[in-house]
Symmetry: C2
Subunit: 295 residues, 2 copies
């Protein structure tokens, strides 16, 4: 029997993920607000649906990868949940734990289940199936979507039955990522103001005690002033930092660094850098120190 | 001809380094304020000197690894610099760039040269020759001490002729280290207040996008609540953070995270945790969120 699946959201992450589902042999139906994004997939056999509720199969599996909480909740209206029925919604967007819990309640009314599966990795990692995936949700549903995740990433870490848990981990990870950029930027600004080029300092650090993907990749971005081409744009990461701030506040967990990060990204937007990459956070510490790292 | 060398300072780092110099075949003379620390070395052939100026050989090489800037400047008085004469002082302590520049001026009056060579790694890395070493200073002197550093670490990164440069890098690195602990602590507190154990979250992060020594080792410390046994004690790392703060301020480089770090360590001292490890920084974010991570 052919495996069928639906993918909603063909953005920078969703599109390469959909391509991997096709490559893995799934009969793929897609929906995206901007229809043009689906052209390549359609030319390779995917079906483009006119609406999310038409795109899903009753009792089937739908994967969503949309921009934010509002987009996800707006997608999952009664029509959509009814159409999916007793199927599984694999919710892979970076949203709050609360949003996935709400999503779960909505689908439950029609017999459906939600598995949260946010991912770590930029678009190139999505394209090469190098994503790391955090999951949470009902065990029976997780068993049924295992092969889908195998087609998308290099490893899955499970965080139990609470559908919100994986999103807490995703937010924690994105916070660690942005905090690492800020720390590298502050250290680099201090180094340069004291005669040491940031390239020399960061190259030692990222090839020794900080030789992991986040420091290596974002460190390279800081060294090469690779700020303006967005792989993970500032409005998207600021949305995540605001989710962290909100989640932390609601649960009474003060996080002083996240406040610095939100302010840095707000400053970037105030300077008209909507289209810049999340790495451009680093310009904040540099410019505050009177340095210009823009090419 | 037998290679001779002098080592000043047999603390948690200096002692294993001295042992590696002995193991590498150096005729070793040592000095330490606490004489007992030298017993093991003396039993294996090292000579214990009564004072630093007696310990050094005129025109020879002396390695110093002492607690702070004051200890280093107090060591390198006129008597000491005269005794070393046209030798080389390999200054491996974590001190300010300014202190090594002052040290360099003092030795220069007697024909001596200073090479800065601060190290990255905890005592176990020192014992297993796994230190990463940053160097700076006169090229001719660096060429002469190359084999000494080869006996102590796994790799050397050079930062040019300014003797202060390597210390700027060392301060930047220790700042990155403490910032990583604080970020992991804030993320962990937020996760636990939202139902995700810090062990689960940190194990995913440190085995995927943050799989480098600093996150793996200090993350394990946070997971296991390994706070009280000091390998790198709070007064020592607070000294480093104050050096970062001072260096940043003097060069007009605002570093908001370092202010958080200094306050965390001051709070740890205010709570009587002088003997705790630098990892205990993490207790700040936890306790501020109403969590108790002490075993």
């Amino acid at each position: 029997m052919e495996k069928s699946i639906t993918m909603i959201g063909l953005g920078k992450m969703g599109l390469p993920m959909a391509e991997n589902l096709l490559a893995a042999g799934y009969a793929l139906t897609v929906f995206n607000r901007t229809v043009e994004k689906a052209a390549g997939l359609v030319s390779r056999g995917a079906v483009l649906a006119e609406s999310p509720s038409v795109a899903v199969a009753t009792g089937g599996i739908v994967v969503s990868m949309v921009a934010d909480d509002r987009a996800l909740l707006s997608l999952a209206d009664d029509t959509f949940c009814l159409a999916l029925g007793a199927g599984i919604h694999l919710s892979m967007s970076t949203v709050s734990a609360e949003t996935n819990r709400t999503l779960s309640e909505r689908h439950a009314r029609f017999g459906g289940q939600v598995v949260a599966a946010p991912v770590f990795g930029r678009p190139e990692a999505a394209a090469t199936r190098k994503l790391w995936i955090a999951t949470s949700g009902p065990g029976t549903a997780k068993a049924q979507i295992k092969s889908v995740l195998d087609a998308l990433g290099q490893g899955v870490f499970d965080f139990g039955e609470d559908v919100g848990a994986a999103n807490v981990v995703k937010l924690a990870g994105n916070f660690l990522l942005a905090a690492a950029i800020e720390a590298m930027a502050e250290a680099s600004a201090m180094a340069e103001k004291n005669g040491v080029p940031r390239a020399a300092m960061l190259q030692m650090m990222t090839s020794t005690i900080f030789n992991c993907p986040i420091y290596v990749n974002y460190g390279r971005g800081i060294i090469q002033s690779d700020f303006t081409e967005a792989k993970f744009s500032i409005p998207l990461i600021l949305k995540d930092m605001h989710l962290v701030q909100h989640t932390a506040a609601a649960s009474r967990a003060p996080m002083p660094i996240v406040n610095i990060l939100c302010d840095r990204y707000l400053t970037a937007l105030a300077k008209g850098r909507e289209a810049y990459d999340s790495t451009a956070l680093a310009l904040g510490a540099a410019e505050d120190a009177g340095l210009n790292w823009l090419k």
